[in-house]
């Protein structure tokens, strides 16, 4: 019987073409979007954790409460000491001090007089100690497009766009004017050792400088301290549960509610808006499947009704030959399942091609992501990824929607009297 139904589906294009096309489009889009999200999410998590949030992030409680102001005076002054303890407690993690601060960059002319000034946002990290992982986390080796990586605590890297705007060259000296951790004025000369292009619009667009942590500490009178400590799993794979163990330990053992300078730990998804975003992305496959099931269901329901009207004659004949209403109804469900399988296989194949193209070539969304802030970073070229879910996720809407469509539209068979269906034969 299946063979008989299959032959009917394949030969009667008016019965199968539109439903199969609907399923193909729905599943192809589902697979493509799943692959797209499957590629974007890991990139986003890796970039954002490397650049901003770590897998676990420690700040002083008071800094955390005022974190959007980046209050340097609320930094942890015992960061190095804390790191020693954390390394002992969690040997499978790498801990790094980072300090974020703002200032005014004074750019002198050939006589040493001020030629230009601009506000800058600075990130200080361990750039020059041997085997520092920060060069990798910040992807600096690949990002330096001119000059070299810092070799000295008073070397800095600046964004290429800023260098061009202020006609800065490698080896130029600049003065950073800022305030120390104690609130007094600070003036520190730095040498521009290189220029960077991250390929991340949110970082490349503005006045960003990257300094070595030790140079920054000297400039800010923050010896042994930092505004943040970032923890990374050695395998660089973020896992929420593992991070929770670490953050819980810190919050239970190091946090002291009576000491505003004692640390508080946040998991990656607890920083900024990551949690809501990860939750949404985690539900994405469910959401996208549900949306496509509903859309395809409505389309296929209507298509089923139209088809049913066209096939009343056939139904009448089949009744006359001795097929029961239930059998006809079930055979329509089997037909829709066959259509679902055919459409899903083709749609999944097309979707996989789409994901592969996204994986290979990506989409440049740099302009759209340039203004993303709050520590959420995307690469300019957003790429999809063929993940295992791409191979099966299309089957959910691809099989359910045609089945539901036939389930509802096929009810017409039961609503019409057998004799009425039979009469269609004569019309």
């Amino acid at each position: 019987m299946i063979k008989f139904l299959l032959a009917g589906i394949l030969r009667d294009r008016s019965r199968s073409l539109f439903p199969i096309l609907t399923v193909i489009i729905g599943t192809a889009l589902t697979v493509t979007m799943t692959g797209y999200i499957g590629g974007v999410m890991p990139d986003m998590i890796q970039l954002s954790s490397h650049l901003d949030a770590g897998h676990v992030k420690l700040m002083s409680q008071s800094f955390y409460e005022n974190r959007y102001q980046m209050p340097l005076d609320l930094a942890m002054d015992n960061a190095d000491e804390l790191i020693e303890g954390l390394e002992a407690q969690f040997p499978d993690m790498i801990w790094k001090s980072r300090t974020r601060f703002g200032g005014l960059l004074d750019i002198p002319d050939e006589n040493g007089e001020t030629r230009a000034q601009t506000t800058v946002s600075a990130l200080a990290a361990d750039l020059i100690s041997p085997n520092s992982t920060e060069l990798d986390y910040l992807n600096l080796r690949e990002s330096v497009v001119e000059g070299n990586l810092p070799q000295d605590p008073f070397d800095i890297l600046i964004a290429k766009s800023m260098a061009e705007a202020y006609q800065l060259n490698v080896d130029d000296m600049v003065t950073l004017m800022t305030s120390t951790v104690n609130g007094s004025m600070s003036f520190q000369n730095f040498r521009v050792s290189g220029m960077v292009v991250f390929g991340i619009a949110a970082l490349d667009k503005g006045g960003a400088i990257i300094a070595d942590i030790e140079g920054a500490r000297m400039a800010l009178d923050l010896n042994g301290g930092s505004t943040e400590i970032l923890g990374f799993f050695i395998d660089d794979e973020y896992e929420s549960e593992r991070a929770l163990v670490v953050s819980d330990w810190v919050n239970n053992n190091l946090k002291n509610v009576d000491d505003p300078y004692s640390p508080i730990a946040l998991r990656f998804e607890d920083s900024n808006e990551f949690g809501a975003m990860m939750q949404f992305m985690g539900s994405f496959m469910f959401i996208i499947s549900t949306v496509f099931i509903l859309i395809m269901f409505v389309v296929l329901w209507n298509s089923g009704l139209m088809n049913g009207l066209r096939r009343y004659g056939e139904m009448g004949l089949r009744l006359a030959v001795g097929e029961g209403k239930g059998h006809i109804y079930r055979s329509m469900l089997v037909e829709s399942s066959i259509i679902g399988v055919i459409g899903t296989i083709i749609g999944t194949s097309i979707g996989l091609v789409g994901v592969w193209l996204l994986q290979e070539y990506g989409i440049d969304l740099g302009n759209m992501t340039a203004n993303t802030g709050d520590g959420i970073y995307y690469p300019n070229i957003i790429r999809g990824k063929i993940i295992p879910a791409c191979f099966y996720v299309g089957f959910v809407p691809g099989l359910i929607a045609p089945f539901l469509g036939s389930l509802v539209s096929g009810r017409g068979i039961y609503k019409r009297q057998t004799a009425s269906l039979f009469k269609e034969l004569e019309t």
Binding site: M1, F4, A7, G8, A320, V321, G322, G324, A419, F422
Partner: protein
């Protein structure tokens, strides 16, 4: 005298609601049709011929009275039981052939056997026997659209008789055929009746058909007005 009753109706009434009143399609119909009979239901349009065929074919149920076909009371059958009765024992032939257009001649004739759950080999043999019997062997792989009207109706007959039913119901089977094809079809059915002892019940107002009938039941306004054995 009927030896074996295949069809028995007793005070059969069938009404349909039309607007705010009941339209009486069949009124107190009492007939007995035996095994192997070749019977015509004749009468003008609206006389109740097709309604009687539908009730006898278990596609409809009586409003009152009773209809027994092969010892099955049509009025008390469930949908499933009615389908089983049609599947096992009744074949239909229609005015418009009603072949499934996307299937070949072979597949159209094979369809009732699929429902009967016959094996692949059995089906093949039974279909080829039926096509051979109707002279359609060379048309087996053709689609209905490639056949003439006469050939299409022969395929419809093959589909009706392939399972060797006890009863074949034919509703105006020659209405779309020319005289030559009509005679050929009727001769074929006459032969089928004689060779296989299959009972035929025709609904017709075609004089060509009537001349082949061995018994003619005349209906007018839903009532049997004459029952004549030739």
């Amino acid at each position: 005298m009927i030896e074996t009753k295949l069809i028995h109706t007793h005070d059969l009434v069938k009404t349909y609601p039309v607007a705010d009143r009941e339209f009486v399609a069949l009124k107190d119909v009492n007939i007995d049709i035996g095994k192997g009979e070749f019977v015509g239901l004749v009468g003008p349009s609206g006389s109740g011929k097709t309604t009687l065929l539908n009730v006898v074919g278990s596609l409809d149920i009586p409003t009152s009275g009773s209809v027994t076909v092969l010892d099955h009371n049509i009025g008390s059958l469930s949908h499933k039981q009615a389908a089983w009765l049609r599947n096992q024992h009744i074949g239909f032939i229609f005015q418009t052939y009603n072949l499934l257009p996307v299937y070949s001649v072979f597949e159209n004739v094979e369809f009732p056997l699929l429902l009967l759950g016959k094996s692949n080999d059995e089906r093949k043999k039974m279909v080829m026997d039926a096509l051979d019997w109707l002279g359609l062997t060379d048309k087996a792989e053709m689609r209905p659209a490639q056949l003439s009207g006469g050939e299409s109706q022969r395929v419809a007959i093959a589909r009706a008789m392939v399972k060797k039913p006890a009863l074949i119901l034919a509703d105006e089977p020659t209405a779309n055929l020319d005289a030559k094809n009509s005679h050929h079809i009727l001769q074929t059915m006459e032969k089928l009746n004689a060779d296989l002892d299959t009972t035929f019940l025709f609904a017709t107002h075609d004089e060509k058909v009537m001349q082949y009938m061995k018994r003619i039941i005349s209906l007018e306004d839903g009532e049997v007005v004459k029952d004549e054995v030739k």
